[in-house]
Symmetry: C2
């Protein structure tokens, strides 16, 4: 008769960022309020720009509600290629872009299309949790490199070289399907310098490892950081960039992302043809949202205004939150330069709380603030703060965090 039907891989289907949502729901049901800083959702705090919504409405009112081109509607694909030409001087054609249901679906396609059980991929700790989940769901094994917390969460090319050498000498490099960087990074807020990025590109080329850069926050950097896209430095080398509407364009709920593979070497060509096939299987991405995103990108004047305002606000909020956390003796915090996350390290040895899991759960139940546990991002002993709420609310939440640590101090 009926038995458990679950596959072995299904154990990996979990999102640590959302695992406390039910606790939060029960608090809210009892009339409580919860400050939700577990999910990186700018559109929850900054209204999606009106010009983008207008374009969305126009698409709906003009009948853009049926299936669209599987790899993305042409106006969107063209807007994306023009963005990369203008912003990063990248030459790309229509066939170089595959529009996906967020970067989430891009990650699904990447892993489904490349990973055989037992193959590996290089990801960097701390990582956006879904990288590991999607890799594992396809049967892949993570090979880790590390952001260096002591060096402001920067990457160390020498250490990457060691890892690549180790993989090569152990024979594992033959089964390394990609190396995935995130720039700016979630959850550390690291913006890679041009120099470090160049060294990573050179290493990927030297060792023949396909390089992917998730650049979903590529317009969200501050504190004097400057951003370089992988697409600027990897000309002539197989690579792929991931991006989308969610963060820069403040439209998380649209679920529109894309993969860009501007090169035409054998590896890149084979991959983009396969991704297009994967896109055809699920028919298309929400059609009117694609037209809205096309306008969001194309109307540079409006976008400039919106992103400038949002980034300036985010910088203020992130820095204000860091300033409060700097007063916390139980936490060590690196000030981020990009995205909108803060990843303080908690000194659990001096607390009557055993780990980040218990910390997040207790903090939510007692103080009604929802964080994410660091271990979900491969950063045990850390917690992740989404620094998006208005400054006063955020400072209030960070102050709660400080008092919570004092309360549980040994």
């Amino acid at each position: 008769m009926y038995e458990s039907l679950l596959s072995k891989r299904s154990i990996f289907a979990h999102n640590s960022i959302l695992e406390e949502e039910k606790v939060a729901d029960s608090i809210i049901k009892k009339g409580g309020k919860v400050i939700e800083i577990n999910r990186g959702d700018p559109a929850a705090y900054f209204p999606t720009p009106k010009y983008t919504i207008d374009a969305y409405v126009k698409a709906l009112r003009t009948g853009r509600t049926n299936y669209s081109r599987d790899s993305g509607v042409i106006p969107l694909v063209e807007a994306i290629t023009k963005r990369y030409k203008k912003k990063y001087n990248v030459k790309a054609s229509i066939d170089d872009v595959i529009v996906t249901a967020g970067v989430s679906e891009a990650l699904l396609f990447i892993n489904m299309a490349t990973i055989n059980p037992g193959d590996n991929a290089i990801i960097f700790k701390p990582f956006y949790n879904q990288y590991l989940t999607q890799l594992r769901l396809s049967g892949g094994i993570p090979e880790y490199e590390n952001y260096d917390e002591k060096n402001n969460w920067d990457l160390n090319p020498e250490s990457i070289k060691k890892t690549l050498t180790r993989l090569k000498s152990s024979g594992k490099l033959k089964r390394t399907k990609y190396m995935l960087i995130t720039n700016p990074n979630n959850p550390t807020g690291t913006v890679l310098s041009r120099k470090v990025l160049k060294e990573i590109v050179d290493l990927s080329n030297e060792y023949g490892v396909f390089l992917i850069s998730d650049e979903i926050y590529d317009e969200i950097y501050y504190n004097k950081a400057s951003f370089t896209s992988l697409s600027q430095l990897a000309k002539g080398i197989p690579h792929m960039v991931l991006n989308g509407a969610s963060k820069d364009f403040d439209a998380t709920g649209f679920r529109v992302g894309y993969m860009l593979l501007p090169e035409n070497d054998k590896t890149s060509l084979e991959l983009k043809l396969k991704f297009a096939e994967m896109a055809s299987v699920r028919l298309c991405v929400n059609t009117p949202a694609q037209y809205a995103f096309a306008e969001a990108i194309s109307n540079g004047k409006m976008h400039e205004k919106e992103i400038k305002h949002m980034v300036s606000e985010i910088a203020k909020r992130v820095n204000a939150a860091v300033d409060v956390l700097k007063e916390n003796e139980k936490m060590a915090v690196v000030r981020p330069n990009g995205a909108f996350y803060i990843l303080p390290k908690v000194d659990f040895k001096s607390l009557r709380i055993k780990d980040d899991h218990e910390f997040v759960d207790k903090f939510l139940k007692e103080e009604h603030v929802m964080l994410s546990r660091g271990s979900g991002f491969g950063a045990e002993s850390h917690v992740r703060v989404v620094a998006l709420p208005p400054k006063d609310i955020l400072e209030y939440a960070m102050d709660k965090l400080n008092r919570f640590c004092k309360k549980y101090s040994k």
Copy 2:
């Protein structure tokens, strides 16, 4: 250095329905017109109802543009449970529904969550092509049952029993993760009688095989057919229904579907918890489209009016197309009772065309009408017609089909 990065499974990523799109594009680029009857896209011919679009616009104008609940916004989930209560007398709670990016994503979740490489699932030939693709992408093996063309494409419970017995005696039944029926069926247009459906439910229960019914066309039946939902007959038995906005609600471009698992036996419970976890991994489905679909379902008065009109038009178009095809001596056609597909059998022995693939390709290139090849649906020697265009265009295209067959007659 860089080698082929493709996984073994990736060979299955292909959509036969869309494989001629590039040929069609090149015809259109040269100034030609193509009658596209390869994709089942009602919203391309019937404008998505205005009341649904109005709700979509309202969601956009009221800021529903950020991430939503991972398993679906509550108003939509409630609208779905109420639909099943009212229409099929099914008791379902919020946790019984998982909203997905179309049935496509539901199929992904089902296969990822249940299939270990080498596991099998029972699917019925001819099948909607994505069933096989998604099963294969997860490493699964299809076990086929057949619609009987000689018996108006009906299912035969005795034959299903034989298949189940065969699987049981060979030990394969232990690895049978589900049996997937489609009602009304794509591509045969079969609407299962209550009697046959009941026998299938009893067999699934007797052999302990989890039963799934894709009922995406559950309001699109005609020619005196009557429809019974699996959810009406499978009370107390583990089962799942798939459905969505695309067909009944004429909103293919929204990409909103759902899984409904109304039972709380151990198997159903385990599955729906896992599907919810899979939903959490990719964060959410397009948010404003979910609110639009909630209204599309909830406004019963408007929906009744719209679906009545659409189904009456579809019936006319399907029957008109069948009438023309009945005159074709090289084709045998069963008149469908549901959905909007026609699947004529081509007598290739009497044609100077070797198979359905060549037939579809030649017909597109010469006559500028795009069909789908039957072999993509497990129906070699057939072609699939989407009978959605206006009657005169459809009759014109069917007439072309008849003349094309005459032209290539041996």
